[in-house]
Each structure stands twice: as structure tokens, then as C-alpha cells.
């Protein structure tokens, strides 16, 4: 009986020791400039930013027990939100799930390590960076600079012209309804995009496959390059474009019925050059060994 009592005592102690601490929440609201800068940094967890039409920054956080505090500072034209972890956070849960509402005209600057980042209904410039988290954003008419090392990047445009720069090392990049000027760089991530009046498109990949389809603006400038990744462009432009596809050892395909030619009698290398429509734009595709495919339908 005493053994049973002792056992029950030990069990209850163990249960209480391992019972999860109550999740901390954090709420704060500060006034903000309608076009000010909002800086948000968080190591782990998630950052969800939504633009609204109030001149305020509202922060709601669900904080792991390893989070020391959330600092929110406000100066004229500049609001900073920072998740602070103690120096030796050890095994404690240092993640924080932040939901932040900010003036939609703000310039948004987000920096995360493994936190996922999401931004919606923003009208101002966006700079979103995560090391391993996924980054997802709605594009508006302002420029966007989005980076992740190993996380995927997903951007959703609405056909509004903007300067967009997306960069990963191994993460995939997906862009919908891209307009304006688009620049994408990756090493091994795949890149997929739909074009909705893009004025310029520059893509660099080492081994990732690149696929874009849709409509280019009049007089577009397109430069797509990879070492071994496959490059596919199925896009038309009202004024047409002059195209040049060159590869050292890859194949060249097209829907124009044209055939690539050897660039030299004495060395590998093939090229396909021609013009569609009035040729008022320019499309260049290059690879070392990756297959190139161009179509304007």
C-alpha cells in the first residue's frame, strides 16, 4: 500500500513537472505613421503581417516559454517589433507566433531565422527575409525584395507593375500574376511563374528548373539563364520579340517550327535566333546543358 502511495506520488510529481506551462500571449498597440517603416524580427515561429487602413500598429503574439519578451518601440515614422530570447534559451520553446496589423502604406521590413513569414494587403515596399522559413507575400504596386535561404518563396501579384526581386539558395520560388520588373535568383530551387504584363524578367538558376507562362508587356526584356536547369518560357507580347536561345550542350525546343543550328563547326554549342511579331522586345535564354523551350502561345 505504501509502495502504491509512493508510486502515485511520484507519478503526480512527474505529470506536474511535464505539464506544459501556460502559453504566454502578448498584445500591444501603438500609433504609427501611415507611410512609416515597420521592422519586425523573430527567430522561430511565424510572422503574419496584414495591412489595414488605421494609423496604428497592432501586435498579438502567442509566445513559447523560452521567449523572454517582445519589444515594441515607436519613433516618428518608425516602429520596431522584436522578439527577444534569453542568451541561453536551451531546450525551451523560443518560438513566437506574431500577428501584426500595420498601416497598409507602410514600408515593411521583416527578418526571421526559421519563422515563416506572411504578408498580405500591403501597399508599400516590402523586404522580407527568412533563413529557413517560408516566405509568402501579396504584391502591390510597390517594390518587393524577398529572400529565403532554404525556405520556399511564394508571391501573388495582381498584375500591378512593380519591381520584384526574389532570391533563394535551395528554396523554390513561385510567382503569380507578375507584372513590372521581375528578378529571380536561385541555385537549386525550381522557379515557376505566371506573367501578367511583365516588362522585364531576369532569372538566374544553377540547377533549378525555370518555367514562366503568360503575357509580357510591349517591348519586354527577358534574360533567363541556367547551368543545368531546364528553362521554359511560354509567353507572348503584343509587339512580339526578337529571341536568342543559346546552349552549350542542351537541347532547344520551340513551337515556331524553327530548328536550332550549330554555333560552330568545330565545337559544341547550338543557337536559335529569330523574331516574333514586330520584334519590339528581346528574349534571351542561355544554358550550359539545360534544355531550352520557347513558345509564344
Amino acid at each position: 500500500m505504501r509502495t502504491l502511495t509512493t508510486a502515485v506520488l511520484w507519478m503526480s510529481l512527474c505529470v506536474s513537472a511535464t505539464a506544459p506551462a501556460a502559453a504566454k500571449t502578448f498584445d500591444r498597440e501603438v500609433a504609427a505613421d501611415p507611410k512609416g517603416i515597420v521592422d519586425i524580427s523573430n527567430v522561430a515561429g511565424a510572422i503574419e503581417v496584414t495591412g489595414w487602413d488605421r494609423n496604428q500598429v497592432s501586435v498579438h503574439g502567442e509566445l513559447g516559454e523560452g521567449v523572454e519578451r517582445v519589444d515594441v518601440t515607436s519613433e516618428p515614422g518608425h516602429t520596431t517589433i522584436k522578439v527577444v530570447l534569453p542568451n541561453n534559451s536551451g531546450h525551451h520553446d523560443g518560438s513566437a507566433h506574431l500577428k501584426v496589423q500595420i498601416p497598409q502604406g507602410s514600408e515593411l521590413d521583416v527578418s526571421a531565422v526559421s519563422a515563416d513569414v506572411t504578408a498580405t494587403r500591403m501597399q508599400g515596399v516590402q523586404r522580407l527575409q527568412s533563413v529557413s522559413g517560408e516566405v509568402s507575400a501579396e504584391l502591390a504596386q510597390a517594390n518587393a525584395d524577398v529572400k529565403s535561404v532554404s525556405g520556399d518563396v511564394t508571391l501573388r501579384g495582381h498584375g500591378q507593375a512593380a519591381g520584384v526581386h526574389a532570391s533563394t539558395v535551395s528554396g523554390d520560388v513561385k510567382i503569380e500574376h507578375a507584372a513590372g520588373d521581375l528578378e529571380v535568383s536561385t541555385v537549386s530551387g525550381d522557379v515557376h511563374g505566371s506573367l501578367d504584363g511583365a516588362r522585364s524578367l531576369r532569372v538566374r538558376s544553377t540547377s533549378g528548373n525555370v518555367t514562366f507562362a503568360g503575357k509580357l508587356a510591349n517591348g519586354p526584356t527577358v534574360d533567363v539563364e541556367s547551368i543545368s536547369g531546364e528553362l521554359t518560357l511560354k509567353a507572348s507580347a503584343d509587339g512580339g520579340y526578337a529571341y536568342e536561345l543559346t546552349t552549350f550542350s542542351g537541347d532547344i525546343g520551340n513551337c515556331f517550327g524553327e530548328h536550332a543550328e550549330r554555333t560552330s563547326q568545330y565545337s559544341p554549342g547550338r543557337a536559335l535566333r529569330g523574331t516574333r511579331g514586330n520584334g519590339s522586345g528581346r528574349v534571351h535564354m542561355k544554358s550550359m546543358s539545360g534544355e531550352l523551350m520557347l513558345c509564344d502561345k
Binding site: A31, D33, I37, N55, Q56, H78, E107, D109
Partner: protein, 186 residues
């Protein structure tokens, strides 16, 4: 910062950016660049008529502005101040290309508005402006496109006001010849 201030929009956010940039905050200066690069590049491109030169001019303008931020006085707007720097940079880039043309005698009567008799394609007007001699084009771009007064445009170009007006007259005549229509005064 109080909520009332934010809501009333009284905060001069640009002055705040300038203040931070002056203190060495490159991030604030980048914001200034993002806000004004289009207008600066537009001016540089129209003055230099060359994309590469215009890019150099734009970069040099902002680099010079960064170095001179301590001398920026808020009595002129930041955009105007940047334009002044851009004009200087554009002119210095062009000085190497040859002697400045001398102006024929001209009347310096009212210039007025820059309305066209009939609507014209943007491309056509840009080409016509592009074809103007440097001095006429500079004066036209600053006055007719960017809305600077004769006095302001003259100061930016380092000219006497009368000379600037003469260049504007010349620009108007040449545009009329090129477009085959009057560029009307008010």
C-alpha cells in the same frame, strides 16, 4: 509620438528620414532613394539622353546627396534639392562632349503654358524633346516637365534668367517645327 499626431498626419516623415540619414542610417537613406529615384532618373535620362549615363547620373546624385546631407536645409523640399544635384551631375557628364552652343538673339516674352494644339503620342513628344539641343532641352525639361519657375530653372542650370527664357523660346520653336503644330501659350 502620440496617436493624435499620427492620425492628424502632422508628422513630416520625410524630415524624420533625413534626420536619421544624417545620423548615418543608410537604411533611412535607402528609403529616400526608393521614394525619389524615379524623378531623379527621369530628369537624368532626359538631360543625358543615354540610359547608361542616366544610371551613372542617378547613382552619383544620391551618393553626392548622402555626403551633403548635412547641408540640406528644409526650406527647399528634398525632391528639389535632389534635382539640383542631379542637374549638376548631368551637366558635368555632358561637359566633356563638346562646346556649348551659343544662342541666337531672341525675344524673351511670355512662355506660358505648354499645351499642344492636338493630342500627340507620348513617344513622339519624347523623341522631339530628345532631339532638342542640350541647352533648350535642359530648360524645357526643368520648366515644362518638372514645373520649376524660370528663376529656379536658371539657378539650377547656372544661367541668367533671361538666357533660360531664351532657351525656352528656342525649345518651343523647335518643337513646333518638329511636331508640325503650335505649342501654345496660355
Amino acid at each position: 509620438m502620440t496617436q493624435a499626431q499620427a492620425q492628424s498626419g502632422e508628422i513630416d516623415w520625410e524630415a524624420g528620414l533625413v534626420q536619421r540619414a544624417r545620423a548615418g542610417d543608410a537604411r533611412a537613406f535607402e528609403r529616400i532613394y526608393r521614394e525619389h529615384s524615379g524623378r531623379v532618373y527621369g530628369l537624368c535620362l532626359r538631360m543625358t539622353r543615354d540610359v547608361q549615363l542616366a544610371e551613372d547620373c542617378t547613382q552619383e546624385t544620391f551618393i553626392n546627396a548622402w555626403r551633403a546631407l548635412g547641408r540640406f536645409e528644409t526650406r527647399s523640399t528634398l525632391g528639389t534639392w535632389l534635382h539640383r544635384i542631379a542637374v549638376n551631375v548631368s551637366l558635368s557628364k555632358r561637359r566633356k562632349s563638346g562646346p556649348v552652343e551659343s544662342l541666337p538673339d531672341d525675344d524673351t516674352g511670355a512662355i506660358g503654358d505648354w499645351t499642344l494644339e492636338t493630342p500627340v503620342e507620348v513617344r513622339e513628344i519624347e523623341a522631339a524633346i530628345d532631339a532638342l539641343p542640350d541647352g533648350a532641352r535642359d530648360a524645357l525639361v526643368l520648366h515644362a516637365l518638372y514645373g520649376y519657375s524660370h528663376d529656379e530653372a536658371a539657378q539650377m542650370l547656372g544661367l541668367a534668367e533671361g538666357t533660360c527664357k531664351a532657351q525656352l523660346h528656342r525649345a518651343r520653336r523647335l518643337l513646333r517645327d518638329r511636331l508640325g503644330m503650335e505649342v501654345l501659350s496660355a
